[in-house]
């Protein structure tokens, strides 16, 4: 991706190291492992796939540069200072570098360990700290998300949003809040009300008994996607168990360095979702799926949970992986639409799942898959990245929207709620709205024999009413 660099890198985050971290960035036996750091041979193959390097052309904002900072910090040659922390903070955690690295560097483990240490040893300035805490007080809790989403619906529907956006006050809001406002989701009453039932069964004898993750953000504002997922799995012969008692999987916290919160959530989720009767754990959100597959690693140091977590992790599948192996009970009805398929980073890079969603979408008669240029570059959503690093996320979102528009699709499909929010918001700021879907929604529509034109029209209208146009 060789677009001219117009964007400037973010200033160093204000904040300071806790005293001991000033000289020694990482605690002993914590932080990125020396052996993993040494895997990097400095070849630079990761640079062109790194979104922040693509944006800013600065070595310290590339995986190679970040690893070098880890190397120096681990050796005690540099401390945990604001500039260094900013370079690590600006990493999206998209793992495109893991895919492109010929030396097998496990960058994901390196950045997670580093982020943990930052959260423990770097004192962020109060405003930043409050904002981060606020995010993690709301997002992982679907009821709180719903509570926030409902008023947002009113805010939009009443026309208040339009007024606010035009107001001078809006322009004076801190960037982060302005961006939050832009990302206010495409909420519908239907989405808020809907969800996957606790249990759904196919008509014939089920081939598989699966537990479904309902998620936090997904559950709150994309409840209709969850409902569609349960329907589709059932249509493909699965018995679907979606316990209401489940909560957030901890992905957002894990990727942001809040490791112990994530571990707690992991234990709870394993308890709720898994038992001996469950064949597979099915996930329809890329970010969550990748974390669930890592539960074995996450809890390996806990003797009471290590084995259970490993067993659990081995059962986790992205919904497209499951569907690609099965046949639906009824025929898929034609949907004559061209679909630009967006590879969510946590599905493509983290889980290596690229072929299955395409295969499943292609099995719908009449669907043409269009490849988006520069697929390896993140859309900028990256968990809560678009909330914490709004300018970078905004730039990446714009570029992704441009790439999508360049193939002129009828629709865009992405298997992750964050990506859908981000790309929808950015598609909306340029030209005719392109309807966005989770791939499951398209399969669901096909199974239900929905009319393609209607489907697209309704989704476009929804996006328009969401102020995304």
């Amino acid at each position: 991706m060789n677009l001219p660099v117009t964007h400037v890198p973010p200033r160093p985050s204000s904040g300071h190291p806790c005293d001991e971290a000033a000289t020694q960035a990482f605690a002993t036996d914590a932080g990125p492992e020396r052996a993993l750091i040494d895997d990097c041979v400095h070849c630079g193959f990761c640079l062109p796939t790194c979104p922040t390097y693509v944006l800013w052309g600065e070595e310290a904002d590339s995986p190679r540069g970040r690893i070098m900072l880890m190397d120096l910090a681990e050796k005690g040659e540099i401390g945990m200072d604001a500039t260094t922390v900013q370079h690590w903070d600006s990493c999206l955690g998209c793992m495109a570098c893991v895919t492109s690295c010929p030396s097998g560097v496990q960058y994901d483990r390196l950045i997670e360990a580093t982020r943990s240490q930052i959260e423990e040893r770097f004192e962020r300035e109060p405003g930043d700290r409050r904002f981060r805490n606020a995010i993690f007080t709301v997002l992982p809790y679907h009821r709180r998300m719903t509570a926030v989403a409902a008023p947002l619906l009113v805010y939009r529907a009443s026309g208040l949003q339009r007024l606010v956006r035009r107001s001078r006050l809006y322009r004076r809001l801190p960037v982060r809040l302005r961006h939050l406002e832009t990302l206010s989701p495409i909420v519908t009453w239907a989405a808020l009300r809907q969800g996957a039932p606790e249990r759904s069964s196919p008509l014939a004898t089920p081939r598989l008994r699966v537990a479904m993750l309902t998620g936090c953000v997904q559950r709150a504002i994309f409840g209709d996607v969850n409902a569609a997922t349960a329907r589709v799995l059932t249509a493909y012969g699965c018995e679907v168990i979606a316990p209401r008692a489940q909560a957030c999987c901890g992905a957002l916290e894990l990727h942001a360095g809040r490791a112990s919160s994530a571990e707690t959530r992991a234990r709870r989720l394993i308890d709720v979702l898994d038992d001996a009767t469950i064949d597979l754990i099915v996930v329809n959100s890329a970010g969550c799926g990748s974390t669930l597959k890592e539960y074995g690693d996450l809890l390996k140091a806990d003797p009471a949970w290590a084995d259970r977590a490993a067993v659990f992790a081995a059962k986790v599948r992205d919904v497209h992986e499951v569907l690609a192996e099965l046949e639906p009970a009824t025929d898929l009805q034609p949907l004559a639409i061209s679909v630009a398929y967006h590879d969510a980073c946590h599905l493509a890079h983290a889980q290596g799942v690229r072929a299955e969603p395409r295969a499943v979408l292609s099995s719908i008669p009449g669907v043409t898959i269009l490849e988006v240029p520069d697929p390896a570059i993140c859309c900028g959503s990256a968990g809560v990245y678009n909330l914490l690093q709004p300018e970078a996320a905004g730039e990446l979102g714009r570029r992704k929207a441009e790439s999508v528009r360049s193939v002129a699709p009828d629709a865009l499909a992405a298997a992750n709620p964050g990506c859908l929010l981000q790309i929808s918001a950015n598609l909306g700021t340029s030209g005719e709205p392109i309807p966005t879907f989770h791939p499951i929604e398209l399969i669901d529509a096909s199974l239900r024999g929905e009319d393609a034109t209607d489907l697209l029209r309704r989704r476009r209208a929804l996006l328009k009413s969401a102020g995304v146009s």
Binding site: V5, P9, H42, C43, G44, L69, L72, I78, T83
Partner: protein, 488 residues
């Protein structure tokens, strides 16, 4: 110990902020460290400051600052070079070209493209592809290495046997000289009058100026490509096959070889199942019937020369897999050992078997493993000397073996570097290949471009500080050549 004078650098950094904007001047400790080396990590030097200009004018203005304050500077592209060419000087500036990465103009009827130096090599071909054109020089790091870097090193790549090097594909360039003046070299039309200064700039390893724009030649994509990988029971047999192919008059688009150890490494980076002493990749391209008739010949030759297995790529994916295995071999070798040294020697192609056997002996004597990847068509070797720096003495032994391999190449009438450049890594081997007079002449050419010696100094030509005195090598004294003094 060198006394570092930081005042010049500080002044340049300060004034540069007004030129490029404060966001694009790096002068704080930790951030400077990430620029201390390129793809070669055993040569490191922390720069005084790093400046990232956004245009030709900004590059020129920054260089003028350096000139005014007598501060040396080093240009850097993606920092993937393998000779330390982008390693900073201790009291100098790094000028990073990563922000200059626009494609300026694609001229399809004339089959050429104008780009800024930060554009990656593969991106040029991506832009040209929809028009049935491509950019021929294809170094293995093409996804990340930049055109500016390619020009500095006169990069070749696997297909240079048939299609030549960067210098054969650069028609013109905008160059910022060491005093900050800007010249346009070359021409968009053939047969430009005057000296071929562009021909010297390409391959000058960033020591005579900074290229800020380049006009590149594009070729029509070949109608047909066919690739095979043949497994041979020995390097000798594979080498014979290559010789025979060439004797038959076939010029392969590429002929690459990997030995057992290199294949083992490549397996970690590409889904291959090759199990052999020597794998020979041969690729032919061109008009379809020409390729097909030649390919039959090549396949037959491989069989005649004792190939155990000849696999023809049956689809673009299979072809991509073969190339992925080859092109990721270097970095993948990092999975076999904690560290390695990569060499870049060249020998006459017909001496390949002897030299490889010589390398095997040196490796055994030195007690280190050497994986071999090489351009079988043109005799350019890449021995990868593996070592574990945790084992006492192993690094020294690896370096010694590495040096002896270079000397072996010279003994066989070859070169110390086929494509990676001399940089800092091989600078002290230059006197093994060139006499004092040769080096004196080189120095004169360099000084003509850069009288003050500010442009990537201490690279390419040996200095007393790095290598000791070289008999017969008379450096033009910088003060004299800059017109600042006179011999009495």
């Amino acid at each position: 110990m060198t006394v570092v004078d930081t005042t010049g650098v500080l002044r340049v950094a300060e004034q540069a902020r007004a030129i490029v904007g404060p966001d694009w001047v790096i002068s704080d400790g930790a951030q400077l460290r990430v620029y201390e080396c390129d793809g070669l990590t055993n040569h490191r030097e922390v720069p005084g400051a790093v400046i990232l200009p956004g245009s030709t004018e900004e590059v020129a203005a920054v260089v003028r600052l350096c000139h005014a304050h007598a501060v040396p500077f080093v240009a850097r592209g993606a920092g993937t070079g393998l000779s330390g060419g982008a390693m900073p000087t201790a009291r100098g500036i790094v000028i990073g070209l990563a922000r200059l990465r626009s494609v300026l103009a694609l001229d399809v009827p004339n089959q050429r493209i104008r780009v800024q130096p930060g554009v990656t090599n593969s991106h040029v071909s991506e832009i040209a592809a929809p028009h049935g054109l491509y950019y021929a020089p294809d170094p293995s790091s093409q996804q990340v290495c930049t055109i500016g870097g390619n020009i500095a090193e006169n990069s070749g790549g696997a297909h240079c046997l048939k299609y030549g090097f960067t210098v054969n594909h650069v028609l013109a360039a905008t160059v910022v000289l060491a005093d900050g003046s800007i010249v346009e070299l070359g021409s968009e039309a053939p047969d430009a009058p005057g000296l071929d200064l562009l021909g010297v700039v390409v391959g000058s390893e960033g020591t005579v100026g900074i290229v800020t724009e380049a006009l590149l030649n594009l070729l029509p994509k070949p109608e047909h490509v066919q690739t095979l990988v043949a497994m041979f029971p020995s390097i000798q047999a594979a080498g014979d096959a290559v010789s025979t192919i060439i004797a038959e008059g076939v010029v392969p688009a590429a002929a690459e070889m990997m030995d057992r150890l290199a294949i083992e490494a490549a397996k970690t980076a590409a889904p291959i199942d090759w199990d052999t002493e020597a794998a020979l990749i041969v690729e032919l391209d061109g008009p379809v019937s020409e390729v097909q008739s030649q390919f039959e010949e090549v396949t037959a030759i491989c069989a005649r020369c004792g190939a155990d297995d000849v696999r023809v790529a049956a689809s673009p994916d299979e072809r991509m897999t073969i190339w992925r295995a080859r092109k990721s071999a270097f970095a993948a070798v990092g999975q076999l050992a904690p560290a390695y040294i990569v060499q870049d020697g060249v020998i006459p192609r017909t001496r390949l078997p002897e030299v490889l056997s010589g390398i095997r002996t040196l490796a055994d004597e030195g007690g280190v493993r050497v994986a071999n990847v090489f351009h079988a068509g043109d005799g350019n070797l890449h021995p990868l000397v593996l070592y574990d720096n945790a084992i006492a003495g192993e690094q020294e032994r690896a370096e010694a073996v590495s040096m002896r391999i270079v000397e072996l190449c010279i003994e066989f009438g070859g070169s110390i570097t086929g494509e990676h450049g001399v940089g800092v890594d091989k600078v002290c081997s230059m006197p093994k290949m060139f006499t004092g007079s040769d080096l004196t002449a080189f120095d004169r050419v360099r000084t003509a471009f850069d009288p003050h010696g500010l442009c990537n100094p201490e690279k390419l030509l040996p200095t007393p500080r790095l290598c000791g005195e070289v008999p017969g090598f008379h450096h033009t004294h910088r003060v004299e050549s800059a017109g600042l003094g006179q011999r009495m």
